[in-house]
């Protein structure tokens, strides 16, 4: 295990060193990309100076909002849908094709309908995230053993109690997977929308810095988004593994 970590660390370090060498040697010129140590320094300075904190907070807030709405909506919809086999069969092809559809193509429409504010961005985040949550919830509910369902019946639990006390807790690992996917999609949806068209937010600042050749702002911001999303993903993956280990599943 520790050998594996070492190996991973070596890959990341090697990649950064390679970039550093290529930048210093001039293979990658300064206008394209500053060397990694400069990006790191700019990022630290940016954080210390508190620059863009408002923008970052706003983007993260929208991501969390989109995530929370999609997550709750997805679990509720998935749980209800699980009880209606015909409706589920009809929606199944939609779920199977859903992530092939460029959801961002709807962003312009949402701007026209709702105006250029936070609404359309959050909506894109929700639209991207919610289907992953529904599908994963359905997947988990399919695996609930019959004996648990019978236990619920014997104890005279109504459907809501069954869901809250028996089936959803059983699905905890799946719900965690759903959270991981939903967070990733909410991130992609919100930041991507800000990128395409917005008046503020991290994505907007990056594209603004790009148009102004402001690499000292652009690269640290990109690095920060990458680090944030990777950190969130790794944290949830870790939690997922702990939960699966505890249940003796791998």
């Amino acid at each position: 295990m520790s050998r594996l970590r070492l190996y991973q660390l070596a890959i990341v370090a090697g990649f950064i060193l390679l970039l550093e060498a290529l930048c210093l040697a001039g293979v990658i010129d300064k206008i394209t990309m500053p060397p990694p140590h400069v990006i790191g320094r700019d990022l630290v300075n940016m954080i210390l100076a508190g620059r863009y904190f408002g923008e970052i907070g706003k983007s993260l807030m929208n991501v969390l909002l989109a995530f929370a709405i999609a997550y709750v909506l997805g679990i509720v919809a998935g749980t209800i849908l699980h009880g209606f086999k015909t409706v589920r069969d009809i929606l199944d092809p939609l779920f199977a094709t859903y992530y092939a559809i460029p959801v961002f193509a709807f962003y312009p429409l949402f701007i026209v309908i709702f105006g250029l504010g936070d609404g359309p961005q959050i909506l894109i985040g929700i639209l991207l995230a919610v289907v992953a949550v529904i599908v994963t919830t359905l997947n988990g509910l399919d695996r609930v053993p019959a004996v648990l369902k019978k236990t619920a019946q014997v104890n005279g639990l109504n459907p809501l109690q069954t869901a809250l006390r028996i089936t959803l807790p059983f699905c905890a690992p799946y719900l965690l997977t759903a959270a991981k996917l939903a967070l990733a999609y909410a991130f992609i949806g919100v930041i991507g929308s800000e990128f395409i068209m917005a008046r503020s937010g991290m994505g907007y600042e990056i594209s603004y810095a790009y148009t102004n050749f402001d690499n000292a702002t652009m690269y640290p911001l990109i690095l920060m988004i990458l680090l944030l999303s990777i950190a969130a993903n790794s944290l949830l993956s870790y939690w997922e593994r702990v939960l699966l280990d505890r249940r003796g599943q791998k």
Partner: protein
């Protein structure tokens, strides 16, 4: 089997009718300010298809997409096979690839533009980075789960690595690899169109972005509709092949 297929077809038709009904209702609710009805959109799309400019844009998107997909599949297979054959590398790289898969790749767009310049190569690169990782991850998973007895058979027969890949690993992994290519296909298309939305002078993504700045709702709806139909129908086809490979 036949009965099941008929039920599937019926469900598909209900779903499509339902989606159109939803669209129609949304149009009634929101009105002409922001939406067009399905009929208006089809009519506009029909008119658009009679112009030469439209076909130039479509051809440009398809060309960039084809090259991007070829790169994504080739590199994805290469990475997937290399990591699948070397246990430690595979174990180390898999979680890293998953983490990379989840980042908003859109933020990398400025870097790609700086590296490739505005034009078709930036679009291709942006499309390809969306598709490489799913192809690689599915291939890696496929090779890992090949029955050990097949690999042992290859060893006993003293196959060289090239024959091993061609004769045993690849055929055994084809269904899973196809799933990876299907996912890669969709993501590469999304990536290519997104790339066109930001910085291109041609392509469907550019057409869409242009329509936004001109507030041309007819054009926005027509291009969005076309993209959705294109992506959904190709994906449905690939999904059907995918299912056949997995159960055939």
């Amino acid at each position: 089997m036949e009965k099941e297929e008929r039920a599937q077809l019926r469900n598909m038709i209900i779903l499509i009718l339902g989606l159109f009904l939803f669209w129609e209702l949304a149009h009634l609710l929101v009105g002409d300010v922001a939406l067009r009805s399905p009929r208006q959109t089809m009519q506009f799309l029909g008119g658009l298809m009679r112009t030469d400019v439209f076909w130039l844009h479509l051809a440009d998107t398809l060309k960039a997409f084809a090259v991007a997909l070829a790169i994504a599949v080739a590199l994805g297979l290469l990475i997937g096979f290399a990591l699948g054959l070397h246990r430690l590398s595979g174990d180390a790289m898999e979680p890293m690839l998953v983490a990379l898969y989840s980042i908003p790749k859109i933020t990398l767009y400025p870097i790609i533009l700086l590296a490739f310049g505005v034009g078709i190569s930036a679009k291709i690169a942006f499309g390809a980075i969306h598709g490489i990782i799913p192809v690689a991850l599915f291939t890696l998973g496929a090779i890992r789960t090949i029955k050990p007895i097949l690999i042992k058979t290859g060893r006993v027969l003293k196959l060289n690595p090239a024959d091993m890949v061609r004769g045993i690993l690849f055929p055994a992994a084809v269904p899973e690899i196809f799933t990876g290519i299907r996912v890669g296909f969709s993501l590469t298309l999304i990536g290519t169109v997104l790339g066109e939305m930001f910085a291109a002078q041609r392509g469907l993504g550019y057409l869409l972005m242009n329509a936004i700045s001109l507030y041309n709702i007819d054009l926005i709806m027509a291009v969005t509709f076309l993209l959705v139909v294109l992506a959904a129908s190709v994906n449905a086809l690939l999904l059907a092949i995918d299912r056949r490979l997995h159960h055939g």
